[in-house]
Amino acid sequence: MDQLLELKTGYDKIGHLLELPPADKDNDSLLDQFFYLVIGGEVLTDAEASAKLYGSGKNGSYAPYQKLKSKLKVYLPYRLCQLVPQGPGEGRISIFSARMHLLSARTCMASNKIMAAEWLLLEAFRLGKTVEQFRVVKEAAGELCELYAGPLYNLSEFFKYRKEFQQNAELEKAVGTLQLHYYNLRGVEIKKDRRLQTLDTNFQPIIDETMALLKKHNGSKVVNYGYGLLQSIFILKGDFATAREYAEEALEKAKELTYLKRGILAIKLSSLILILSKLGKYEECLSLINRREDLGLAQSSSPYVYLFYRILSLLALGRYEESVAESGRIDLEEVEKLHSAEYAASFRVIFAYQHVLGRLGYLDQIDPPKQVKKFRFNRFMNQVQLLEKNKQGYNIHLRIIELIYLAVNKKYDTFIDKTEGVEKYVVRYLSKPDHQRNGLFLKMLASATKHNFDPEVIAQEEQESFDTLKSLDNVAFLMDLPSTEFIPYDQLWPIFLAALKE
């Protein structure tokens, strides 16, 4: 039943285009009755369906019902997959429509209705081209070649579609290859595979192949996967300058696209913003976010992406009050719905830092929003820790916020208790070179215990560590959200010292 219900969800997207006659309970066959029950959402389990069709007392294992269900698995897609008109500007429906034209063309060809087949194939070809469905275009071109080499013999048309067949076969392979590398790389990222940084040469063939394909082909998928790959590789290698070059090139290319232009522009824009923030170019980052209207992305389907980077840039630039004002626009429930729980956790971490800033008097000029003002540390720890399995990632921020929060609240005994844990944590999880910056900062925070929480002594004794910290790049995690230093450590250190002074 699950499979039928899963297929039925497709109907919800195309139902308005279909020509399904209304159910007629008296005259419909049992199969049609079952069909209408499923697409009407009237039955959700086998037991319900069996009882409705065969009367109460018959459960899902009733043999005639099982047979009927296996028939419906074939019948349901046939009833729903009809020749539908192309929806205006709707990519997904155009794709569906192109596929249905190709399917119907094949039905006509098998029945030797070649004129109808030609008409349908030409439509499938045209529709497929507009939505970059290379397989559909290739197969339609292939079938047209067969027609023009056979029953509708036409030499010039044959050569035209032969060329299209060849080109689309190449495009299909090119996109497939890029996608293969792209997801391979995503896998490496998810595994936090460090091979990326140490074994540069492993990725050179991928880079070369991608560059060659980008030079040869064009189109939304090529631009998306191709530049996405190059950016990811260079970000993961820590070469942000090169990544920026590709991100800017990708943005330019995305402007020329016809299909999925807006979506790809949005992806490429957020990639460039990410890279700029990694490069510490926060002013450029802000101006790029402000410029998104020029790119037609003012009404974005994911406004929180831009909001996140706007807040991040403002924090990094020391414009704390502006950043807090922006935080007022965040609805965490909506963030979780539109993005993910991890994304919402990032905003929670931001609120925590902003709360600390408020406590230290950095936000006196404005009235902070309730998320910041009514921040509760223990609730925050529970909410974020529940999401975090990774011992690095958000855990680092939790430790930092915890220590600063304890310092702000003058809970020095608890601070001392936590110090031992932090030191062990640094040794165990942050010993690798990638985390040198994180580890060093946590050690600097923990050193307050050694210097009796005297800010002047701490500043003096830890000056050397602070200089080292400033010289280090943030190379940990690189891509994912928790890797972000929401307030750069160089700025956070004086804030911590100020907390001790109060």
Binding site: I14, R79, N112, I114, K173
Partner: protein, 506 residues
């Protein structure tokens, strides 16, 4: 208009009206009814006639409301024709299975992109089904969806690696399919155009592809291309080998698929025709005819082609006994309906040739004459190709000689002589025909006297015997009855007496 003309016999008006996108006004409805009425009364009506009937005499076929009416009605007719008719069967044909997979894919594609357990299961099932029916492009697409799921949304390293391996395999198979299909198409075009075969045909790659991949498309297009190439090079052993290999593959893996079996059996009949092996060719032809009759979707033209190749086989092998069976097959298949009008001349040549072989069988001759009369009655203007005209002239000449009408035969021989070049070149595609015509002319110079003819033609006959009959790429050669055999028939008609005046002037 052509779409409507084609679909009109298969849909009814009510059904078409049900599928019209918008509600029709009474005036619009009236026009559609008129359109259908006209198609029923005169299906060959062209667009100009139709637009004048519907919108007045001053309109041309580009009249926008007429074009809109045509488009809307055509789409509705197509929808009515391709109405879903899924039949649940546990062993569907390959085409039905491809349709099932494609429809399930389209529905799944429309659904949201969450990677639920059921969804993953459905994608995996689709991969399996697509592989089962050798629909590699769809398998690749489904694998790419799974790759996106395993590589990102529900990360699973082992499954991701496994999917990647399968994707790489599909890439190779897809490339091989593209190569085979394109090569087969190029050969079809070259064969139809009569141009030399493209030099860059990747024959070696295709040979290795059909050895490596047991896949429908590769075996079909690769087998077609290699068989065609071997036939073109008159390498009959290789041609038999490739077509036989493909036949074995399809019989073992897709016994329900009619099209490839018909295709390769047709090729084999042609090859045995060229090899003059009647018994093998006839047994293949019987299988071919059985298959064609069994198929619900066989077109009359396809059946006509099959009977045509049977006639060519019988004529080439000089087997007159099967003529009545061939004529019965024509009769059963629908007679003249089997033959496209442009080929009436060709078929008349076949019938005359058959009549020549069956000279001593009045019942068969009567059947042939009936078919001939039908063709002549149906054909408004029967066109003969130049080669067919020559064959018809030769047959007429032989019939006249049989009837001892030597002077009339001499007139025909004179015409044929004038069409001959002065020097015969072995490289000429019609070299054997030219040699035979020379034999005929020499016989005329010998006043159709047997002994004199034998004496005068010995050298030309020797030259004829050094060559062998071939077949063209599409199998329909000018040499219907082998010229050596035709010569033997001619010798039997010659006289022992010398005439008082020569029949043929120098």
């Amino acid at each position: 208009m052509k779409v409507l003309q084609e679909l009109f016999p298969h849909v009814n008006l009510l059904n078409v009206l049900q599928h019209m996108e918008d509600d029709c006004t009474p005036k619009y409805l009236k026009r559609i009814r008129q359109l259908f009425q006209r198609l029923r009364d005169a299906s060959e009506t062209n667009e100009t006639e139709m637009v004048r009937l519907l919108y007045g005499d001053s309109r041309t076929s580009s009249h926008p409301p007429f074009q809109e009416l045509l488009t809307k009605t055509s789409v509705a007719a197509i929808k009515a024709f391709v109405l879903p008719s899924a039949r649940h069967t546990s062993s569907p044909s390959r085409r039905a299975m491809i349709q099932r997979c494609e429809r399930a894919y389209a529905l799944l594609y429309m659904t949201s992109e969450r990677s639920t357990e059921t969804r993953i299961k459905l994608w995996r099932q689709l991969v399996k089904s697509a592989r089962q029916c050798h629909h590699i492009p769809l398998e690749l697409e489904c694998l790419q969806v799974l790759q996106a799921i395993y590589g990102y949304r529900s990360f699973d390293e082992t499954l991701l690696e496994d999917t990647e391996t399968k994707i790489r395999r599909c890439f190779d198979e897809n490339s091989a399919i593209t190569r085979c299909k394109m090569a087969a198409m190029d050969l079809r075009i070259a064969s139809t155009e009569g141009t030399p075969y493209p030099r860059n045909i990747p024959a070696e790659e295709i040979i290795s592809a059909i050895r490596q991949y047991d896949l429908y498309d590769i075996q079909y297009y690769g087998g077609e291309m290699l068989t065609q190439l071997s036939i073109h090079q008159q390498d009959w052993r290789e041609a038999l080998n490739y077509s036989g290999g493909a036949l074995t593959f399809f019989r073992e893996n897709f016994p329900k698929e009619r099209q490839p079996l018909v295709h390769f059996l047709y090729n084999q009949v042609l090859i045995f025709t060229a090899l003059l092996d009647f018994s093998q060719g006839w047994s293949r032809w019987k299988d071919l005819l059985r298959l064609c009759k069994r198929g619900k979707t066989s077109s009359a033209t396809q059946l006509g082609k099959v009977i045509e190749v049977g006639i060519v086989l019988a004529l080439r092998c000089g087997n007159a006994k099967t003529t009545s069976k061939l004529l019965l097959a024509i009769e059963d298949g629908g007679g003249v309906k089997l033959i496209p009008e442009r080929e009436y001349g060709r078929w008349l040549t076949y019938l005359r040739s058959l009549a020549l072989l069956n000279n001593d069988r009045p019942d068969v001759l009567e059947m042939i004459a009936t078919q001939e009369r039908r063709i002549q009655r149906e054909g408004k203007k029967i066109v003969f190709r130049r080669e067919d005209e020559q064959i018809m002239a030769i047959i007429e000449c032989l019939q006249l000689l049989r009837g001892q009408s030597f002077r009339k035969a001499a007139v025909i021989v004179t015409t044929l002589r004038d069409s001959l070049p002065k020097r015969l070149s072995p490289d000429h595609p019609e070299y054997r025909l030219q040699l035979f015509l020379r034999l005929l002319v020499e016989s005329g110079y010998a006043n159709f006297h047997r002994a004199a003819t034998l004496r005068k033609t010995s050298k030309i006959l020797k030259r004829l015997r050094t060559t062998g009959p071939g077949i063209t790429d599409d199998g329909i050669d000018t040499e219907l009855i082998v010229y050596e055999h035709l010569w033997e028939i001619l010798l039997l008609t010659l006289t022992e007496k010398a005439p008082r005046l020569p029949y043929l002037a120098n």
